[in-house]
């Protein structure tokens, strides 16, 4: 952002923040040991199962159940978290601190599950289905990764794409309508590419040609498409319900690989959008960091004047990338429709913004974004499904979690991330 806050961040000794993070992790670990672990009562146990709930063709090889003593498992997991925090404190990790926080979050989530599913206990569900959790999380993670990739493509070229939420919504609506009309997800995907690309073009047109403030234009585009989607929903989809019949895409299982327990159902028994996402992650990584094109894009995002002086067209590069980014987010919207079904207004519930936060958390790199999206995806899935374990927290509070985690993460990032230098700054030749 502005130099004022940047200065403020550098003036502060970075060690204090690291220590704060370290102590925070330690406290979470101690809570796990003493708050949840010690004294769970008359020797309860928790059971893990690995059989997926529904598979398209044939189940993976069977794994038996794993029964653990709840108390000792929690103490162990808590000790692991304390160790992570202690490592941050003792080794004074500055760079690796956030990675430890991510690990802490995952271990803590596992601990919550173990605690919530203990038997005898209040839970109606007497086991934890590890595979089902991973499959469900993978779906949310996939959506977020599409959004993050879109953000990376735009911001590496120096344009902030805050309209991802709107592009999700546009892709969802168009994809759902096309699939309902033609029963063809391929056409729906093309529709998503077109609508997302168009929305990207609109952002690029206003931001590049007219040097408008990118965040403002992005927010207004989201507002506009939220209104438009709602308008469409009541004016077109309600009278023609056959344009919104809510089919979901069938899974394309990869023979052989899908038989592997846990991993198979999570990664190799998915919709085509999941495989497309994996390909896109590789493609964007490779293109941005290993090709001449990527070098040029990054040059435009870091120092457009310098890029222009060696003959790169800043405007064209930015146009291409923002349109590409929009198209990727549009496909993300279609993928959303392919796993969620029927369109309703506000169905994207802020996922576009969470994807943006994940992109920042992942330091504008596809690999980092994948890690961050996984963290967000797992926590969002658990927040939506933890109610079935009768945890003594009300549903509404649980549903806040994905958003609270996003806020906490963006607060913990300070001075640790550096955006592309020209990110968000309009470029004019004069």
């Amino acid at each position: 952002m502005t130099a004022v806050t940047a200065d403020a961040a550098t003036v502060r000794p970075p060690l204090g923040r690291t220590q704060a993070i370290g102590w925070f992790v330690v406290v979470v670990g101690l809570f796990t040991v003493f708050g949840m672990g010690v004294g769970t009562g008359s020797a309860p146990h928790s059971t893990l199962t690995f059989t997926p709930i529904d598979v398209s063709q044939g189940a993976p090889w069977h794994l038996g159940n794993l029964t653990l003593p709840t108390e000792w498992t929690l103490v162990l997991l808590g000790a692991l978290i304390v160790a992570l925090g202690a490592e941050v404190l003792v080794r004074r990790l500055v760079k690796g601190a956030m990675v430890r926080v991510g690990l802490m979050a995952i271990v803590f989530l596992v601990a919550v599950l173990v605690w919530a599913s203990r038997q005898p206990g209040p839970s109606q569900v007497p086991f934890i289905n590890v595979t089902a959790i991973l499959v469900g999380s993978a779906a949310i993670t996939m959506i977020l990764i599409y959004g993050s990739l879109s953000g990376i493509l735009c911001e590496r070229a120096g344009v902030v794409n805050i309209a991802i939420e709107g592009q999700f919504l546009g892709g969802y609506l168009v994809g759902e309508m096309i699939d309902s009309a033609t029963n063809n997800w391929l056409l729906a995907t093309v529709g998503g590419v077109v609508i997302g690309g168009l929305m990207g073009w609109l952002l690029a047109f206003l931001a590049i040609r007219y040097l408008s403030d990118q965040i403002i234009v992005g927010v207004v585009i989201v507002t506009m498409f939220t209104g438009l989607a709602s308008y469409f929903n009541s004016w077109v989809l309600t009278p023609y319900p056959n344009l919104n019949n809510g089919n979901i895409a069938t899974n394309l299982a990869i023979p052989g690989l899908m038989k592997i327990p846990i991993i198979g159902p999570t990664f190799f028994d998915e919709t085509g959008y999941f495989y497309l996402m994996m390909i896109l992650v590789g493609l964007v990584s490779f293109a941005l960091f290993k090709t001449r094109w990527g070098l040029r894009v990054r040059a435009v995002g870091e120092h457009p004047q310098a890029a222009a002086s060696v003959g790169i067209s800043v405007e064209r590069t930015r146009y291409v990338n923002v349109i590409l980014g929009g198209a990727v987010a549009g496909v993300g919207g279609v993928a959303f429709a392919a796993i969620q079904g029927q369109f309703t207004p506000s169905i994207t519930s802020g996922f576009g913004y969470i994807a943006l936060a994940a992109m920042i958390f992942g330091r504008w790199r596809p690999s980092g974004a994948v890690a961050a999206c996984t963290l967000f995806g797992v926590s969002a899935y658990l927040a939506y499904n933890l109610q079935s374990y009768q945890v003594p927290i009300s549903t509404e509070i649980l549903l806040m979690f994905p958003y609270l985690i996003t806020i906490a993460v963006s607060a913990g990032l300070v001075g640790r991330v550096r955006p592309p230098a020209a990110d968000g700054i309009p470029y004019s030749r004069e």
Partner: protein, 414 residues
């Protein structure tokens, strides 16, 4: 042309901010018309067979104009005045309620919009984005209803206390992004966007929990605010007009904002920081304090907007309070941009956007076209206002005197 007309023409061609805003309104309505054209079955059917017969295109054109005309006519009659109805009242002296309801509704909707937009405008002037006005307004509404329904006091104290509670709720909502940005560097756009969702769930939680929920209910609905804590109708309950003393609150907020931004030293620091953070820092302005103060004031006003809406119109909140298209946070951003972040401009912008919303509901009732079209028109207007060069090119205006909406922002990061 007479000299005075020529001067008017020249003024038009010189692209003053007012010209740009008016032309943006025209362009926004054009966008709306195009959307109606492309999505209304009657119009599309008329055009489908239009080129098979003589007179077909003429008929199709007529159908188009009839439909679009009916839509825009009901926006006007629903939000400002219905001329035949008004004439009826003037000549017979009766049915004034029906004649004045459109204006009353527009002002009623403008009350929270003015307050929330000024809240957003103050942060814009400081170079900050408060996209969380909706969440802060929700907290304000919840806090206001809590104080109104759970505390028992004489009215003289109770109403002010209710409004203060609303402000306090909003301040809490504004403090979170402000403090996080100042002390950890978290970008306020992400924090406020996420906070909107947190606030919505928090409201739902409160509405389903014992003290606030209407007794013997399973739905998410609050108790009703007692009469002493409501903002009474301006012309008495008997008038049947919903416009209420919230107008006075909104006016007071406008005066406060004018004083704050133009006369007070805090406001001066806000504007300096917004215009040039380097210069502000160099001249000894405490950047962190300015940032937090701006967010606290903005949050407080957004909270006031929330409580003013509940106390003035519905008197209770349910799960739909400021949700979806009823939310005012995003509209407030667009209004603030339309009014160039200045209080007086914001008042005009709020009246226009409130009229569009009220008229949109009337349009839906009369023609079936969903009122969400109003949101689309509003956003289109703001896109044009935010890119004056585009408007200038479309209408071939001469020089551009209107500076574009200036907000100091750039990417993310620290």
């Amino acid at each position: 042309m007479t000299p005075s007309l020529r001067r008017l023409w020249d003024r038009y061609r010189s692209a003053s901010p007012v010209t740009i805003s008016l032309l943006a309104l025209v362009l926004g309505l054009v966008v709306g018309a195009v959307i109606i054209f492309a999505t209304t079955p009657a119009i599309l059917d008329a055009w489908r067979g239009a080129f098979h017969s003589w007179g077909g295109p003429g008929h199709a054109l007529k159908v188009t104009f009839d439909n679009v005309g009916a839509a825009y006519r009901s926006i006007f009659t629903g939000s400002i005045v219905d001329p035949p109805q008004f004439w009826h009242s003037v000549t017979t002296g009766r049915d004034w309620t029906a004649s004045l309801t459109p204006l009353s509704e527009t002002f009623t909707y403008a009350i929270p919009l003015v307050i929330a937009s000024i809240a957003v405008g103050i942060t814009f002037q400081t170079g900050l984005f408060n996209i969380g006005a909706n969440g802060q307004a929700i907290l304000g509404g919840v806090a206001g209803v809590a104080v109104a329904t759970l505390v028992h006091l004489p009215m003289v104290l109770h109403l002010p206390l209710t409004l203060l509670a609303g402000i306090a709720g909003g301040v809490v909502g504004g403090a979170i992004p402000g403090l996080l940005k100042a002390y950890t560097g978290a970008h306020e756009v992400i924090v406020t966007l996420m906070f909107n969702y947190v606030a919505s769930y928090f409201m739902l939680f409160c509405l389903l929990s014992t003290p606030l929920q209407l007794p013997n209910q399973t739905n998410a609905i609050s108790r009703t605010m007692p009469g002493g804590t409501q903002l009474a109708p301006l012309f008495g309950t008997a008038s049947g007009l919903r416009v209420n003393y919230g107008v006075v609150v909104a006016l007071a907020v406008t005066v406060f904002a004018l004083w704050l931004l133009n006369r007070s030293s805090i406001g001066f620091e806000f504007r300096i920081t917004g215009a040039n953070p380097h210069a502000a820092r160099a001249s000894g302005i405490n950047a962190r304090r300015t940032l937090v103060t701006s967010f606290l004031i903005s949050g407080g006003l957004a909270g006031l907007a929330g409580v003013a809406w509940v106390a003035g119109t519905t008197h209770y909140i349910d799960q739909n309070f400021l949700q979806g298209s009823a939310g005012i946070g995003f509209t407030a951003i667009t209004v603030s941009l339309l009014g160039r972040n200045r209080p007086i401009g914001i008042v005009w912008g709020s009246l226009l956007f409130a009229a569009l919303e009220v008229g949109g509901s009337n349009m839906q009732a009369n023609t079936g076209i969903p009122y969400d079209l109003a949101t689309v028109i509003q956003s289109a207007i703001v896109i044009f206002v935010a890119t004056p060069v585009l408007v200038k090119e479309i209408f071939r205006l001469r020089a551009l005197r209107a500076e574009s909406v200036k907000v100091a922002t750039a990417g993310w990061g620290s």
